[in-house]
């Protein structure tokens, strides 16, 4: 069979995961990743990388469960292997605390993380302003390690990399048999998808190596995630905010809120600040489309709009995208229409 040329647009955690899924599973495909930004300059590189999903309104729950479970199981196997330190994947335990008791005390993902339970009274004592908490063990996947590790995996099966900004999908489609669009926030421009919008997030990187457990406020705005090189503390969730510069007021707010949750942070040294734009969307778009050009039907599999759940859902959505690609390669494409 002729080699099927697949182009993956985007080299963030979703793009590289998708590329590796395709390249490792479909030997008859030759995979090329094209992107402007690579690690350490992707959005995921600044993310803490804690696996913690949120529920999207319009995607069937079974599909969301599958996305998370497959991502979790895939990364757990890596964490449990000699590759763990190379890949930057490891177990992380901690507390998810709520000022008001949430309606959903046991979210859909509670079965997929490890050891999920409610916090005891003694554990809640540390957080006097909070009424309820969940304790569990999840995974942390640090893109600064993981993305180069995925790239190695891709090259090992013959994948190619092109450093170039994509501005015209139609033009690229002329040279490829299929396109996987993992362009994150850039989909807004590339596809003119107005549903994609930035959710600005700022974090501080602090040196506090005595911190081992994570703490996250259920409202998502305050969190402490101990990492390999530093502790990420945050955060902000500013919709439609395109600013990539550090906001000093945000830093002040973050430090204040996090020190209240974890007083020992007052002794921590701030190593740096970082801003990233989450590729927000009401729901991630994982679906297939066709580009019609010069008598050809080129399948385009979209896999973008993961918001703050990129790392969390990367492998599961990549597998989903792989499935959509596989289907389109064996299906008859729909009739050309204007």
């Amino acid at each position: 069979m002729k080699r099927v040329k697949v182009l993956v647009v985007g080299a963030g955690v979703v793009g590289l995961s998708t590329a590796v899924c395709v390249a490792e599973t479909l030997p008859y495909c030759s995979v090329t990743v094209i992107a402007e930004k690579f690690s350490p300059d992707t959005t995921g590189d600044g993310a803490a990388g804690i696996l913690l999903p949120k529920e999207f309104p319009d995607i069937p729950l079974e599909r969301q469960k599958r996305w998370f479970k497959e991502s979790f199981d895939h990364l757990l196997a890596i964490a449990d292997s000699p590759q763990a330190s190379d890949a930057g994947v490891y177990l992380s335990s901690g507390y998810h605390i709520f000022k008001d008791i949430p309606c959903d005390k046991k979210p859909f993902w509670s079965d997929f993380v490890l050891g999920f339970r409610y916090m005891t009274d003694r554990e809640m004592k540390r957080f006097p302003n909070y009424k309820f908490g969940q304790a569990f063990t999840t995974l942390k996947c640090e893109c600064l390690n993981y993305l180069p590790w995925l790239e190695k995996r891709l090259r090992a099966v013959g994948g190619q990399i092109i450093h170039e900004k994509v501005t015209d999908l139609q033009k690229l489609a002329l040279n490829y048999d299929a396109i996987m669009n993992c362009s994150g926030l850039s989909s807004r421009f590339l596809l003119k998808d107005e549903e994609v919008y930035p959710i600005r997030g700022q974090i501080l990187k602090v040196s506090a190596p005595w911190l081992k457990n994570f703490i996250r406020d259920g409202d998502g705005n305050t969190y402490i995630y101990p990492g390999i090189r530093y502790v990420s503390i945050g955060g902000t969730r500013q919709a439609d905010d395109w600013r990539l510069e550090v906001d000093k007021e945000d830093s002040k707010g973050i430090l204040e809120r996090c020190c209240r949750l974890e007083p020992s942070l007052r002794a921590a040294q701030v190593m740096g600040e970082w801003v990233g734009l989450r590729p927000g969307r009401a729901n991630p778009r994982v679906e297939r489309q066709y580009l019609h050009l010069q008598g050809r039907q080129v399948p385009v599999v979209h896999n973008y709009g993961h918001g703050g759940c990129g790392v969390t859902l990367s492998w599961g959505t990549a597998l989903d995208a792989l499935d959509l690609l596989r289907q389109s390669l064996f299906e008859k494409p729909p009739q050309a229409r204007l």
């Binding site: 000699p82 763990a84 177990l91 540390r126 081992k212 457990n213 390999i228």
Partner: protein, 347 residues
């Protein structure tokens, strides 16, 4: 009143602290002196990983369980103080793995969030079929001991770098009460056939992605004679061995290989960790902690000794409870001597 403490490990220093806290304003003058040939960072307490965890079962030594719990509560209360980082105290969760179903351990109510491991968790550790998860405290000797010495120095406690040959030596020099916190070498001061070295060797590695301690229990090999991995604030401590009767303070290659192989099986990611150094220490092992008063007669004189040694592999775990008890015994001595006014009034 002159109190001389022998030993500057965690037991000696914390006992000095408790005595100061309880009596500095009830008896004047109160002179506290610490004598030791070895100070931080070279004591046994300095090399220990610093995980607060007693042995699984206290074998009827309920006092020890009480002292362990007291220490945990004390350290937990220090967590929220601005000093916590300088004291070397922090929380860490982890796994106790067993090769068979065992009854709940003595510390299940002391620690936070104690529960059994789920099957999925056990699947991560082939060879282990049962276990527990909980959040415990870390207390790093290399940080805690300097903090204690600072605390004591600020309160005019004096330190003397000297090997004490006998209790009498100190008594002759004017000590009113001697507190024996000389750990594994207590036998040099007073023979004690129950006291034995429990030699331990550890490997310190750089593996900052590890965020949980893992302790394995194998009834056939005995406590701390099976692998354990305990991440600290900077390095990870990998062990272990527990060789009773072995006084060898040198690192042993055979032990190193055994420890490393077992630990890498338990935690595959360790294979890529950078090994920093080995360290050997002698746990002051005893059937139970010796914490009691003794009146020693020397000719026409007699002097009081409070023994506080034999804490095995749980010195950091039990230190505060024992220090408070030692202070209580000291109080009894003061009362016997009629030195304690019943009211706390002073000029």
């Amino acid at each position: 009143m002159r109190v001389c403490i022998i030993g500057a490990g965690v037991i000696g220093l914390s006992t000095a602290q408790s005595i100061y806290q309880h009596f500095h304003d009830r008896i004047a003058p109160l002179t506290i002196e610490v004598y030791a040939d070895v100070f931080t960072p070279l004591t046994t307490s300095d090399g220990a990983a610093g995980l607060w965890q007693p042995y699984l079962y206290d074998k009827g030594n309920v006092q020890e369980t009480k002292w362990n719990k007291e220490t945990f509560q004390y350290l937990l209360s220090c967590l929220s103080s601005p000093d916590s980082v300088r004291m070397g105290i922090f929380l860490q969760s982890g796994y106790n793995l067993c090769t068979e179903h065992l009854p709940d351990p003595s510390f299940k109510d002391a620690v936070l969030g104690f529960r059994q491991l789920t099957q999925r968790e056990l699947d991560m550790f082939p060879g282990y079929s049962f276990g527990w998860f909980n959040t415990a405290l870390m207390i790093e000797g290399k940080t805690y001991l300097p903090w204690l010495m600072d605390w004591l120095r600020q309160r005019k406690v004096k330190f003397y770098q000297r090997k004490i040959g006998s209790f009498k030596e100190l008594a002759d020099s004017g000590a009113d009460v001697i507190i024996n916190c000389s750990g594994v070498r207590s036998g040099d001061l007073q023979p004690d056939p129950e006291l034995q070295p429990g030699r331990g060797q550890i490997i310190k590695v750089d593996a900052p992605w590890l965020k949980h301690w893992v302790i394995t229990h194998d009834s056939s090999s005995g406590v701390y004679n099976s692998p354990y991995i305990i991440p600290g604030s900077r390095l990870v401590t990998v062990g272990g061995v527990f060789q009773v009767g072995n006084w060898n303070l040198q690192n042993c290659s055979v032990d190193h290989e055994g420890i490393w192989e077992a630990a890498c099986k338990l935690e595959p990611s360790l294979q890529h960790a950078r090994i920093v150094e080995d360290w050997t220490g002698l746990r002051p092992t005893r059937s139970k902690v010796r914490l009691e008063k003794e009146t020693i007669r020397s000719g026409p004189m007699s002097f009081e000794v409070i023994h506080n040694y034999g804490h095995g592999g749980f010195g950091l775990t039990i230190h505060r409870g024992c220090a408070e008890e030692a202070a209580r015994l000291f109080g009894q001595i003061l009362e016997q001597k009629g030195l304690l006014a019943h009211s706390k009034s002073r000029l």
